[in-house]
Assembly symmetry: C2
Homo-oligomer: 513 residues x 2
């Protein structure tokens, strides 16, 4: 057993059984060790941003970390944006970052860089195995640290000599302690305040937006508390049989208007709601005047247990209003995000998973699918576009029996377009939808909001993707993925109907402009 | 004038006239200001790694920085790998990284991260303009810092409110001081030692590998000193009329064998030569036993002036042996890196620029083109693949009158494949060659060298790109680029002949397997 074996075996012993990888020379020992540890499934990604986003999607669906395998500092940097999203999602991820042999670092060879500094800015934990004997223990520490709470990235730097040197030290099996819950007294006091408020609101995030948390939240709604979720959550349980919360609005002035009259806001597994961006003369904090804010459970706490305890303390009914299945009619005519949403709602099967990186198209589809079959919605938690394809890969590997939909703005899809290849290679059951409006459309909206006036020709050119037009069918077929382009609601509906009844990777291009 | 205007005007005043951009909401003021500053050419890239690599290529060809425009921490991370390569190349680059408004940072909105920590690990200089009035001065500082010496990345963080707030403070014009040169006494002593040595070697890097530096190096060769350049240099002047140095070999044991008998190694604008990676029981330092090493000029010094002074001090002849044009015959039969090299040598016009990210195919092409028409060779300085397409973009924008060839391994090309779109959009005169061997072939070689034995099925799968096969003609055409695939030497030669006589972007796929 060498250090690489100690690493992979310790990962597998701790339930880390998927590794999204783009290795280089310094990681060859890890690659070799894969043939000696059948519990680990290695998935090749042609760019590290695909690997890290896939680990995020896997972690969101399983609640446990996948590993990534990254090639020194540049490999980490390439994966950094989707690790940012993963951190914001609270997703456990274990990064294994190869490094030069310990004795070789001093010479500052071309690939040398300060890996720890890069990783630290975005990690729960950073460690470097300076000897093979340290690898096992540090691996176990990394897995433990990835759980937080809240969950996040743990980054283990693995020098090449620590990987190739013999060792007999495998790491321990860790146990993940339960997340803390507010004390009974705190819960009772919060319940009393919510009861006393005229227009109380509870804002929830994190793991509390899963099925169990929302079920408890639905009881609170029945007890008179308005329930909102954060604008962007890692994973929301939605559709038939689930409680349907409101969602904090994206634009600050609209959010504050929506909350007008609220006199108490209780936070569960989230923080003070703030505007996604600042704009001149617009509020940063999304709390209306006169509304008190109370953090009942921060992001490290168990939001699900908190909500259940709170519902009990409020004598809330045993269950709240649950969504009744209500599928839209077949859409006709113009293809737009609403008719697309109708088609998705009509056809997606029970327990589908949606990886949403659709930017402007995402919200209409979100609203149109509210009463569809039960599904999970994975959101862009950190604002770094290029998540939709990778997260879908990870979700599909985590849940091979579920249909995965990857919804992508065309600008976002280009960021990590290499992920299509991995979907084909692994024959994943993912339907990729690309919204081809040939623009960074969100920026056309944001431009005016930042007080920048009307864009001139130079500015317009930087928001436009139309010259040349990207032929998404050609791009997909170049990576072996079948694809169809649709420019009417009827054509899209037919393509979605077919995609949802067949297995395997495919793309539907929504030709919106 | 607002802070964004102050920034762009100060850049343009200091000769920074190209900006490779992928902006988001926090950068909209910068985008708006482009319409008020016609000196600045903004080039949209669909991924930040393309933007940063393009800035590297631009800087290598002009000797002055381009700007990048990046969207907060994740935008910087996406560009980080090619900035690593730029730093290793000593290329001046000015990164403009948008940030949240200063007063908004405290709320830790989703896109918030420690931008400075990420940038610092890879920058000559990091600054943040906390007010609009600071923008101009800091911009001038950033430009100055990008020149080093040695050149590198300067990263200016621009909070949104510093961009949108009015100011009347434009930054100063900076002057770049000349790089230091060793004193005359040091030069004379080095000359004496080189004369006294039995088998002296001079190893040069950085800007000394351009035309003027190599001309002086050729004189040293004529005076009896063996001349080598670093394995990977930012830019080498090659071909007819230039002095042809040796190149430090990539694999350490071969390099040491090649240098056997050398008793003195003098370093000019470089550092102690070391192995690219460490391997078990292989040397890290590429200096044979008994060979003294002397740093005459480190990377911050003016290598060109040093070499000229040294040649004078050695009474070297006025000029050394210069390469005589010697074009190969038309290649026939099997398509491989050697026949491809012959075709490139035959057809590339005078003053072509080669952006080399071809990994295993690169070296044979390098050798075959040694006696071609005068050209510049831009190498992968930092080992982070995905440079070949972006650097070609920047070179083509810097030198619109020159033909640019972008040579890419298929694995490397996938990293920043989005750059094809920018080539088409800007109608750049770039011929992209993709070596489609459907494998990370270098890793098949490195695997054994790291002592990993023979790869099993799991390991082999991580080195293979053949399932599915990437259809490069389809990928290129999806981004509006014409492309042709060739599987014989004759077909490739015909395609190269056509590409070299016509303007505009195109791809030639070398179907090697």
């Amino acid at each position: 057993m060498n250090g690489a074996d100690a690493l992979i075996q310790t990962l597998a012993d701790n339930g880390v059984e998927a590794c999204f990888a783009n290795p280089g020379t310094s990681e060859m020992q890890f690659v070799a060790a894969l043939d000696r540890e059948p519990r680990m499934r290695a998935v090749l990604c042609l760019f590290e941003g695909v690997a890290t986003g896939a680990a995020d999607g896997y972690g969101r669906m399983t609640g446990k970390p996948a590993a990534t395998l990254l090639h020194l500092g540049p490999g980490y940097a390439n994966g950094g944006a989707n690790l940012h999203n993963a951190r914001r999602a609270g997703t456990p991820v274990v990064n294994v970052i190869g490094d030069h042999a310990t004795y070789h670092r001093q010479y500052d060879a071309p690939l040398n860089s300060d890996i720890a500094a890069w990783a630290k800015a975005n990690s729960n934990w950073v460690g470097s195995a300076e000897t093979a004997d340290q690898v096992g223990d540090l691996t176990a520490q990394a897995v433990a640290a990835s759980f937080g709470p809240p969950g996040g990235c743990a980054s283990l730097i693995l020098p090449a000599d620590s990987a190739w040197t013999e060792t007999d030290k495998r790491g321990p099996q860790i146990t993940v302690p339960p997340r803390p819950v507010p004390t009974k007294a705190v819960i009772i006091e919060a319940a009393a305040r919510l009861k006393a408020a005229k227009q109380p609101v509870i804002l929830i995030g994190g793991t509390a937006c899963g099925e169990a948390g929302l079920a408890a939240a639905g009881r609170l709604k029945a007890a008179g508390v308005r329930v909102l979720i954060d604008t962007f959550v890692a994973r929301q349980a939605r559709g038939a049989g689930r409680f349907l919360p409101d969602r904090m609005l994206y634009f600050g002035e609209m959010a504050i208007k929506d909350l007008a009259g609220s006199d108490l806001m209780v936070l569960v597994e989230t923080a003070l709601p703030v505007s996604f961006f600042a704009y001149p003369d617009m509020p940063s904090v999304l709390v209306p005047e006169g509304c008190a804010v109370e953090t009942l459970a921060d992001k490290a706490k168990d939001g699900v247990a908190t909500l259940i305890a709170l519902a009990d303390a409020m004598d809330a009914p045993a269950s709240g209003d649950l969504t009744v299945l209500d599928l839209p009619d077949a859409p006709k005519g113009e293809l737009n995000a609403y008719t697309i949403g109708d088609s998705i709602a009509r056809h997606m099967p029970d327990h589908a998973v949606i990886s949403d990186d659709a930017v402007t198209a995402g919200l209409p589809i979100y609203t149109q699918t509210a009463r569809a079959r039960a599904h999970e919605w994975l959101m862009l938690t950190g604002g770094a576009i290029g998540q939709g394809i990778p997260v879908a890969i990870g979700a599909a590997i985590a849940c091979p029996e579920r249909k995965v939909l990857s919804l992508n703005g065309d600008g976002a899809a280009m960021y990590t377009v290499q992920g299509l290849w991995t979907m084909v290679r692994e024959d994943l059951d993912v339907t990729v939808v690309v919204f081809a409006n040939h623009a960074y459309r969100i920026l056309n909206i944001e431009f005016a909001r930042t007080g920048s006036g009307r864009p001139g020709p130079a500015a317009r050119a930087l928001l436009d993707l139309g010259s040349p037009r990207i032929d998404w069918v050609a791009l997909a077929s170049g990576m072996g993925m079948k694809a169809v382009s649709c420019d009417t609601a009827e054509a899209f509906d037919a393509a979605m109907a077919e995609a949802m009844t067949q297995k395997g990777p495919r793309m539907i291009v929504a030709a919106l402009a």
